[in-house]
Structure formats: C-alpha cells, structure tokens
Amino acid sequence: MRRAVLIAIPYVWLLALFLVPFLIVLKISLSDTALAIPPYTPTLDLSAGWAGIREFFGQLDLENFVWLTEDDLYWKAYLSSVKIALISTLLTLLVGYPIAYAMARAPEEWRPTLMMLVILPFWTSFLIRVYAWMGILSNEGYLNQLLLWTGIISTPLTILNTNTAVYIGIVYTYLPFMILPIYSALERMDGSLIEAAEDLGCSRLQAFWLITIPLSRPGIIAGCFLVMIPVIGEFVIPSLLGGSGTLMIGKVLWEEFFSNRDWPVASAVAVILLLILVIPIVLFQRNQQKQAEADQ
C-alpha cells in the first residue's frame, strides 16, 4: 500500500503537469479555427449529454496536420531548427570540452572558483543577457567598435540579425549545460590512467583519444542532449538575435499563436515538435540507464 502511494505520487505529478496539458494541446490541434473565445471549435458541451460528446468527437479531424505537410514553411522550419540545434550543439561541445578539461586539470583549490564562474551567468536574467548580446553584436556595437579601433576591419560586420548571432547566443547561453556534465565525468577520472596509457606506448594525443574521450563519453552525451533538446524549440534567442532569414520552429509556433491567432495549427506544430523531441529524450534516458548499469 505504502509502495503504491509512493509510486503514485510522481505519476500523478506527471499526469497533472505533462499529460493533461498535452492532451489539451492535442485536442486543440484536432479542432478548427473560429472567431470566438477560445478561438477554436468544437468545445465540449457536457450539458448535451452523450449526443454532445459524440458530436464533439465527430468534429475533430487531422486537417491541421495535413496542412503542415502542404505548406513547406513548416517542415523547413523543423528541419532548420534541427540543423541549428545540431550545429550549435557541436559548437557548444567544441567550446565547452576544453573548458571542462581545463577545469578538471586545474589545481584542486581553484576548482570551486572556476565552477562558480561557469554558473555565475545564471544569476542574471536570461533575457537581459541576450539583450546584452544585441548591444555587443549590433553594427554600432562593442565588438565592431573594438575591431574597427584595432584596425582588423574597416567596415562594420553585420552579425546581429543573422544565423551567426543565433549561434553565438545559443553557445553562450547553453555552455554551462555542456561544461558541467563533462567536467564531472573528467574530474572523476584517475590521472594515473593517462600515465598508464603513456607508459604502454601512447603519445599524449593517443592517450587523450583512447582514454580521456571514452571515459568522458557519458558526460559528452549528457551535455549534448541537455543543449540540443531545448535548442530545437528555442524561441527567445532566434527572435532577438536572428533575422528574417532565421527559421526556427519556436518562432513559427509563436507567430501562429499570437500573430495569426490560429491556435489549432499552432497546437499541431507543437505536437509534432514534441514528437521530434521525444526521440532524443528517449535516447538520452537509455544512455543514462546504461550508464547507471555500468556503474554497478
């Protein structure tokens, strides 16, 4: 009995905070748009009894999902989001790994400070930090001023409102999520393993490739998922730093909801996005589980 209650608590939680909202969104995605409040039909009218429910379900259809396949805006936005997510995850890994490596190799007494520096940006609002990047990257921004002053360039670079700015923003924002799991994997590693590898004939580079990388793999995988999953649905960064050419599904979703007020199509977009995200999440879970088993 107690066990059943203990198990039930997280499931009730999941049901209330995930499954119920999802079902509501799913229902809206199967509805038709209408000039009403809320802006879709049908709405469930329980006072009409059984016939009302039958009529309600009868009016639901997959029209909006069909629409998503007809207008190439949507699949292009999905594809572009996944592409941007993959590239920025790779960039974050390339920037984050050396930082995590340096942190793990730093003298013991330095590590808490370095860790603090990685976490520090979280103390400021995410929105303010992205705004700050607008100030840095704009044509008259600090970066261009600095480059012009040092004479590296003669005309200002256009960075803001391009995909480059989006990548910079994403790498900056999500870097701690990459660094921390990799750092924790590297920090646990026994330094004598590298010496043993060298002793057995590895060069420094081979030892890194054959020992350090495989042993930090769980950290790399965790970091990549932690970055990629939220980036696919990212909305704030592309809308503030990206330009008209930056196509991301989060932005499309927002526009459908708030500009077009087409809730059913927006919901359909959200449902598909969720399905796309479920795949990496399941992979991530399996990785975590495998790691837990290996640690036993």
Partner: protein
C-alpha cells in the same frame, strides 16, 4: 640450473642495466632525490624501501619517464634515457592504483600496449593468451575491471605491464591494496613470475617484510638518500646505521662509549651501575668514541639464572609480554628503566611458559650478536 649464486653486484665485470649517476631531483625548494648513484643489474628483483616521502616513488617515476632528473643522468643499458619520453622507453610500470582502463575488458587492457606497437593480430592474440595463462586469468578475459576482485585486478595490472616484455618492470606498491594473507601468496607469485620471465623488477614499497621476501637486493632510503644497498640478509644482520637497523625489523638500540680491548673487540660502557658490554666489530673505533649497539630481540636469550659462560648478561624484570602465537616478545625492564626486548620461539604450550609478569630474569647475548655502529 646454474648453481652459482646470483650476485652480479659483486662481479666487477657485470654491466648494470640501470645506472643512476649523481642524480638529484628537486621540486621547487624541496629536494626529493639528493645526489644519488646506484647500479641495478639485469634479472635483479630490486626493492626501494623507505618511509613515505623518502623519494622512492620519485626514483620510480624517473625510471618510467614521468619525471626527469634536475641533475645527473639515468642510464638504461648504457644509454642515457633522460630525453626519452615514457611511451618510447622499454620500461613498463605497474601502478599502485593499478590504473586499469575501466572501459576496456581484461583482454583489451592486456592487449593495449601491444596494439600501440602495431603487433600483428595472430601474434598479439597469442601474447595476450600467454599473459592470461601466466597470471591465471583465462576465465576473466571478457570481464571489465570492475567485475573482478582486488587480487585479480592486481594480476591484470601485472599482466598488462609485462605484456610488452619490457627490459625493466617497475612496481609501485604492487601489493598495497591487498589484505595480508593474499599479499603473502602474491609475493611468492611475483617472485615466480619474475623468475619465469627473467625481467628485471624494481619494486617500491614501504613494507620491509615485503621487500625482504621478494627482493634480491634492498635499498633503504631516507630523505632522498640511499642509506644502505645490500641483500636482505646483509641489511638485517649488518645494518650500517641506526636508521637502517631501526627501520628493518625490531631492534634494541643501546647508546654507549667504546673502548678497544684487543683485536676487533670493544668494551662498551653504557649506563651507570650496569656492567659494560662486549661486542666485536670489524669497524675500528677510537677509545671513548660514542657508539650505538644494535641487538635483534631474537638474539637475546632470556633465562632465570645468570648463564655461566655468557659474555654479556644483564638483569631485569619482565615488564610486558607480547604473545604472537609462534613467538613471544618479552619487554624486560632494567634497574635504570631501560627496556630491552627479547624474543623466544614458543616451542612449548603457553601454559608451560617459564616467565610471567614481574619475574626477575637475566638477558644475555654473545659478543657477535650485536652490531656496533658509529655515531
């Protein structure tokens, strides 16, 4: 079998495999190794023994190539190895933590070094199997390091470091993580393997019993210096300093003044109201020179009556008895408060023990039993 005793260090013709030539190693202001010279010969099982921080691990890390000498040179087969990085040295090391690669199976761990040499597949497989057989690990080949016991891990580490057939194998506290019983069995296994492979072993340990058991020669170190390098029996029987005598085994140290009384024989006055002691020593001491007398407890005879013909005999009473099963150590307090330890083998049942607490007893030893050490 060759019946001559293995003792290349006594042969002036023998070429040492390793030579330390005036090697010093400093870390900042700290001197880990202080102007040290040492020769180690092929097929030797050489032990570096000392308390932690004495520099023995630094010596080993210099041999492996993880540290370079600040001054002096290390030669391997006559060749200066200082500029050679660890991955190019014909030297392998067994780490104290074993440093097994956790993501690789036992088989792959042993094959790791061979793969780096691009050994052909068939040859590699044969070599790994041979190593598995040597260390009796055949049935664990497919397991990961965390799936086997501590003793098995120790053997994997040994197999891995031996796989490349190094000229020199370094063992850093190889048995430190094992419990006492397993450690003793493994010591003999190590000696067997060393004999079978003919590899030169250098072992670092702080356990004097372990060093004495396995090694052909032992170097006792203290504060970056070699205190004595000799075979285990020489180290035990004729230590050259109070430090070595005290570090190896149990010992009674008596401080006194020596007076020559004939050929290689000295009279030692050591305490008010106690009879002088007699010791013979090949080292010559001047009259009245301060000296230490080191006597092993097992060389002290304990008896109820004064032995008639004993050259050295002192009286005291039993202060404490340490019963070790096979042996008993008696702590005998003399009239002036000095405690002298005497050890006897328990050849009789304990109920028939001759002495008990507070019994008056006589301690005696021969003139050659004690080692006379200069101050």
């Amino acid at each position: 079998m060759n019946s001559t005793v293995f003792a290349p260090w006594d042969d002036p013709q023998a070429k040492p495999l390793i030579q330390f030539r005036n090697v010093s190693k400093r870390f900042g202001a700290f001197t880990a190794i202080d102007n040290l010279s040492l020769d180690i010969y092929e097929r030797e099982f050489f032990a570096l023994l000392g308390p932690s921080g004495c520099g023995k691990t630094t010596m080993m890390r210099m041999l492996a190539g993880f540290e370079t000498p600040t001054e002096g040179h290390i030669l391997l087969s006559g060749q200066d190895i200082d500029p050679i990085p660890p991955n190019k040295r014909a030297v392998n090391m067994m780490f104290q933590s074993y440093a097994l690669f956790p993501h690789l199976s036992i088989w792959e761990n042993i094959a790791f070094g061979l793969r780096r040499d691009r050994m052909p597949k068939a040859e590699l497989e044969a070599r790994v199997e041979e190593m598995l057989r040597l260390t009796r690990l055949e049935q664990f080949a497919r397991r990961k390091p965390h799936q086997i016991s501590g003793g098995q891990r120790q053997r994997v580490a040994l197999a891995r470091s031996l796989a490349k057939a190094p000229k020199l194998l370094l063992l850093d506290e190889p048995l430190g993580a094992l419990d006492k019983k397993l450690r003793q069995d493994t010591q003999f296994e190590l000696m067997d393997i060393q004999e079978k492979t003919g590899t030169t072993f250098v072992i670092v340990t702080h356990d004097q019993e372990e060093a004495m058991t396995v090694a052909s020669r032992v170097a006792v170190m203290d504060q970056g210096k070699l205190m004595q390098v000799a075979t285990p029996d020489r180290i035990y029987e004729t230590p050259n300093s109070v430090y070595v005598a005290d570090f190896i085994g149990d010992v009674n140290i008596i401080e006194g003044r020596a007076t020559a009384q004939g050929d290689e024989s000295y009279r030692i006055d050591w305490a008010e109201g106690q009879p002088p002691l007699t010791a013979s020593s090949p080292t010559s001491l001047s009259n009245g020179q301060g000296c230490h007398l080191a006597i092993r407890p097992e060389k002290v005879t304990i008896s109820a009556e004064r032995p008639a013909e004993a050259i050295n005999a002192i009286q005291g009473k039993v202060h404490d008895i340490a019963y070790l099963g096979n042996l008993s150590t008696y702590h005998v307090e003399l009239a002036n408060g000095t405690i002298i330890k005497a050890q006897t083998a328990n050849t009789r049942r304990i109920s028939r023990r001759s002495f008990t607490w507070e019994d008056p007893v006589w301690l005696s030893w021969t003139a050659t039993a004690a080692v006379l050490l200069e101050n």
